[in-house]
Assembly symmetry: C2
Homo-oligomer: 151 residues x 2
């Protein structure tokens, strides 16, 4: 999860909401990504999607069987669906997303037995560090907005 | 939907499961895509995701407000989530997907009021043509598998 946090800090460095992800198979990092929605102006450019696409390139197959995804924030429905589609083995997330989380908070797509693949979930790992990154980012954003609106 | 079917036939022509999508805004096609999961070995390369990424490039923004997506098969959870994330106005689909459909069949992600955006749904448009494409594809696949296993 520490490496996923490093990825999240990369997003922070370019002014993006700080969310990072890595994918590990056999103790080797095969994919990594950080949120780039604004920089790329791409609604699909979440950390998880970027990491999944990179892992598929690394392995040369869309089936990421036996690989685990670590992400600093609970995945949204799109990313949870991509995790199932990629046949990942496990998803480990840091902070809960009460507004859009689709692995635990609002729904649980990855463990839905009606789908053709189920993914194990480990929740709340390094939760404090992951959520603090987000809190600081939004606090800073609010401060700057107040500052700008006062000018 | 006819243009989405043309996209689906492009997938068929390269041996992919025939699913196609287009995105329309102000009566202009701003994105199109067809399933390329096997060709690209990318688990996210569904027709909808490719069309959404293209539409965002066309408009120069990730917010596809006021745009409608037409797709030959009911979107899976990943694509339904991407449709919400892209702030699309409406999703129109052809065939129902009873095994993975996330807009009507198994769940309804795009009209989930707990999420920060809701998308209108129009279901079963040109359903017969869309599902026939899929039936023919899988029938052909089975025939070839039997043929191959007999050799």
């Amino acid at each position: 999860m520490e490496q996923a946090i490093i990825e999240a800090k990369r997003a922070l460095a370019i002014g993006e909401v700080p969310i990072g992800a890595i994918i590990v198979k056999d103790e080797v990092v095969i994919g990594q990504g950080y949120n780039q929605r604004e920089s790329l102006q791409d609604p699909t450019a979440h950390a998880e999607i970027i990491a999944i696409k990179q892992a598929a390139r690394t392995l040369g197959t869309w089936r990421l069987t036996g690989a685990d995804l670590y992400v600093t924030l609970e995945p949204c429905p799109m990313c949870a669906g991509a995790i199932v589609n990629a046949r990942l083995q496990q998803v480990v997330f840091g902070a809960y997303d009460l507004k859009a989380g689709a692995v635990s908070s609002l729904m649980n797509i990855v463990e839905d037995k009606r789908l053709n693949h189920c993914v194990q979930v480990m929740a709340g790992i390094c939760e404090e560090a992951c959520s603090q990154l987000l809190k600081d980012f939004f606090q800073d954003l609010r401060t700057r907005n107040i500052y700008n609106s006062e000018r």
